[in-house]
Symmetry: C2
Subunit: 112 residues, 2 copies
């Protein structure tokens, strides 16, 4: 979760989820997040996930997928739908979710 | 920087930059980052930027652009090229930069 995702040669798809969490929901959010991670990463077509959150509660999570169909299947997964509603009702001040197609990628690793 | 970007109706383009910073480079990195923010956000076709970094040095920055041409112009900007090299030589243990086309977006704002 705190490292980069290893993804195949493009093209593939991404969901960029940016959000600000409400204060005081850490435990409840942590449990829901862990369960969604457990389920989502096992979905067909899942390629990887990267997530970073600042101390102020602003976070970015990017998940990578083989196809738009795979994204749709996860978005409409029954248990995920319940947690999405919980997110709107309890967890998030706001969020934005953007779906895109990755066209190219470059990576770098330091020699030292 | 610590808030979400307000972007137009898709399609538009994104650069997802995920990285792990080396320890002990905070001041140098901070100055370079501030300068790149100053320059990059004034480039033609720049739409917005979002950034989050965890305490462990793993970060995600997503910038949004009107076109692939706008991304190319920023990538090849003379001063940006110098800082990109500095990033490889000094700042980053690793990074991955992915360019994509945003096809759709949904946003949510809590009523309370």
């Amino acid at each position: 979760m705190s490292e980069g995702a290893t993804t195949p040669k493009p093209p593939y798809y991404c969901v960029i989820f940016t959000s600000r969490r409400k204060p005081g929901i850490e435990d409840d959010y942590g449990a829901a997040s862990a369960r969604m991670m457990e389920l989502g990463t096992k979905m067909p077509g899942f390629l990887g996930i990267e997530s970073a959150r600042s101390a102020e509660g602003f976070g970015i999570t990017v998940s990578y997928w083989e196809s738009e169909e795979a994204i749709k299947n996860w978005r409409t997964h029954a248990e995920h739908l319940i947690v999405q509603k919980k997110g709107r009702d309890h967890f998030y001040e706001w969020y934005e979710s953007r779906v895109g197609r990755i066209e190219r990628a470059v990576s770098f690793k330091s020699a030292k």
